[in-house]
Amino acid sequence: MMPDSAHEPDEQALLTRLAAGDRRAAELLVDRTYRVVFASLMRLTGGNEDLAADLTQDTYRKAWAAIDRFDRRSQLGTWLYRIAYNTFLNHVRRPARLLPIDEQRAAAVADPQPGQDDRMRRDEARARLRRAVVGLPEDLRFTVTARFWAELPVAEIARQENVTGAAIRKRLKKAKSMLRLTLAEDP
């Protein structure tokens, strides 16, 4: 979630302007971050575009309400991903929506085009992988999704989680081991 252009104001300057009530700064921050937030939610929801867009809006609503508590320990995008992730979890944990995420969203995953066997196999493998990721313990699940689906650097995740980079790498290694085991058991 880096700035699109090196010539634009940096994030800290925008946040300072935001704190002063500058609406334009808020819009620029949205422009910089919403694509990745949406993309991460697309991956979390298994490709449900409407749901991902709704959750993205929810994420920003919550962010505006809590922006005064953003301590700038991490980058804004990292903080936003934590909110997006929690928003997603809140969504799937609602009693009315407790269906397994994979079953709930499987139909929404884009069907492969006919004849593209490799692509189809890969999508199938990704669907199984996503099931396995969702089934990880909380700390590993957040770390894996933040690293791969929200495209956050290890150092940023470490700041957000208030642990060392080595701890995040350990989590990733452990998560991969668990994923391999899960995928091996998943017929």
């Binding site: 009530g21 422009d31 919403y34 809006q57 809140n90 009693p95 992988l129 909380e138 701890a167």
Partner: protein
């Protein structure tokens, strides 16, 4: 396809492309930007990042790291060359753990003997302690209380008794006690190996001596209060008052006792043997990992035996984010998963009305209450310790750091408190076992609350109206303005403990209910627990209806009661 190698897994985890958002999404988000965005950013955002360090500083850091690594390699090589005794490295590690248990005792005793002692490593820098607004006046000036034969010992006297019962260290042990390694005399490898074996034997002997001291102390306590003997009992008074045995039948878990822990909390003392002995025995047998697990871990669900570890520290800086997450989930009709619930965070979400000090930097508070009546709660008492920093004024604006380093701990009187447990102590063990810091910088207006559940010694629990010392709350800190270390203490006696639950202060009962809600959320719903919680909350309502925090809490409890099964 049933297995993946690293490369395949990495490839699958890495998305091929980034999904493109709907064209109108950005506008939809921007349309919801609030009209009034201005806010005051948090003042504790000064986090220096490595990426912002200058190149010169990076260079120094790199050089320091290299020196450390190379030095470590050199030392390891030298150790391997000079000490070719098989298994030596492991045995040293194990022994250091055992020594940690033993060497802690003098420090704890020292701290308890001197309730206003400065931070140990600053003992030579004694500072004049400012007037303490809430400290008992006699505390600083009164000499150590000498126990009469008919009295239970106070905190000071009880620990002095333990000290006197400790065996006199032989000359060879003096170096260990004082932290001077025996290797400095330059013995041969064989002699060193013999020393290690001797250390192990001494650690066992000393641990056993601790048990003996504990039993002696218990016997003295029992002798001072013979009324604890049950009619018809054939057991000796000493056996009656052994803290180890006081938990022997602690297996019942009720709606209220669940707050005070569960049967698993007994694992701190396996088979009634104190952890120090377990550890030494396991190390003798080479069971290193098991031995480490048996150590009296600070703040977890284990109830810590006071005679083994009378001192307990608690965090001064508590992140309350967990509370807001829980509230959000409950508001949406979802039972929060246990891993998001933090007892300490929820307890510290609320301000229980502790008044700031007048003219001093900090005020300390301590009060207690027995748990609501019930056979399983007999002898169980909840203690609330609070710390409040002065509020902001014209000289010290809000948010100003008034103490750069501070720590707080409680020293329990082993003659009165058999065991204790820090509620929410589990919260410290998160994120790969990293401990949440107990040190912290303190700003004006800052307050923190720590709740302990204690098990009274049987003879104390059986005595109505007891007034003995329960614990000493300590706080020491380095003043931000002057850099001078200061300390403050607050003695808690039986007079600070209400006679029963209904007689406890409303803030204390409220704080206990908050902890109870958190533990109920952690352990899963039971109708009895939720019902008891709602009932007690309603009973408090007439007393706290004016408190916005309590109104919020009551609303949360009601919503929890309405959650679907």
């Amino acid at each position: 396809m049933s297995s993946y190698d690293d490369r395949e897994l990495q490839s699958l985890l890495t998305p091929d492309d980034r999904p493109v958002p709907p064209s109108d999404l950005a506008e939809r988000i921007k349309a919801e930007i609030p009209a009034d965005l201005a806010f005051a950013p948090p003042q504790d955002v000064v986090v220096e990042r490595v990426s912002r360090l200058g190149w010169r500083r990076r260079g120094w850091l790199l050089a320091a790291s290299l020196v450390t690594v190379l030095g470590g390699v050199w030392l390891a090589g030298r150790t391997m060359t000079e000490m070719p005794v098989a298994g030596r490295a492991d045995s040293r590690d194990e022994l250091s753990v055992a020594a940690g248990v033993r060497v802690d005792v003098p420090e704890i005793e020292s701290v308890m003997r001197d309730p206003v002692s400065p931070i140990p490593d600053q003992a030579s820098q004694e500072q004049s302690v400012p007037v303490r607004p809430l400290v008992i006046a006699e505390e600083a000036e009164a000499p150590a209380v000498e126990p009469r034969d008919t009295e239970r010992p106070s905190i000071n006297a009880a620990t002095t008794a333990m000290e006197h019962k400790r065996p006199v260290a032989p000359p060879a042990e003096a170096g260990i006690e004082s932290g001077v390694p025996p290797e400095t005399a330059g013995p041969s490898a064989r002699e060193k190996a013999m020393n290690e074996a001797g250390r192990l034997a001494r650690s066992l002997a000393q641990a056993q001596a601790q048990v003996q001291a504990q039993r002696t102390l218990s016997a003295r306590t029992a002798a001072a209060s013979p009324r604890v003997e049950e009619p018809g009992s054939t057991r000796s008074p000493g056996a009656e008052t052994s803290p180890n045995e006081s938990f022997a039948d602690e297996t019942q878990v009720s709606a209220w006792s669940s707050l005070a822990g569960d049967a698993s909390g007994r694992s701190g003392e396996v088979f009634g043997v104190p952890p120090s002995v377990q550890v030494a025995t396991m190390m003798r047998d080479g069971v290193t990992e098991r031995a480490k697990r048996a150590l009296p871990t600070q703040g977890n669900r284990l109830r810590v035996a006071t005679v083994v570890q009378p001192r307990s520290s608690f965090p001064l800086v508590v992140d309350t984010a967990s509370y807001f997450l829980v509230r959000g989930l409950v508001g949406e009709g979802t039972w929060p998963s246990p891993d998001v619930v933090r007892v300490n965070a929820m307890v510290n979400r609320f301000d229980y009305g502790d008044a700031p000090p007048s003219g001093e930097d900090f005020a300390l508070y301590a009060e207690g209450t027995p748990l609501p009546s019930g056979a399983e709660n007999a002898g169980r008492v909840l203690l609330r310790f609070g710390k409040r920093a002065r509020a902001s004024n014209a000289d010290t604006p809000e948010g100003q750091v008034i103490a750069t380093v501070a720590r707080a701990w409680v020293a329990f009187n082993p003659a009165v408190v058999a065991r204790y447990r820090l509620l929410g102590g589990d919260d410290r063990r998160t994120n790969e076992g990293r401990s949440v810091a107990t040190l912290g910088a303190i700003q004006t207006g800052h307050g923190v609350t720590a709740l302990y559940e204690i098990e009274l010694a049987p003879n104390v629990a059986a005595e109505p109206g007891w007034r003995d010392d329960v614990a000493m709350l300590h706080l020491d800190w380095k003043a931000a303005a002057t850099g001078v270390k200061e300390s403050r203490s607050r003695r808690m006696t039986g007079e600070d403990v209400a006679d029963d639950w209904s007689g406890a202060s409303a803030p204390l009962r409220w704080s206990v209910l908050v902890a109870r809600l958190a533990e109920t959320l952690q352990r899963g719903r039971t109708d009895a627990a939720v019902m008891a919680l709602r009932t007690e909350t309603e009973r408090l309502s007439p007393l706290l209806f004016h408190h916005p925090g309590f109104v919020e809490f009551r609303s949360l409890v009601e919503r929890v009661g309405r959650l679907p099964h």
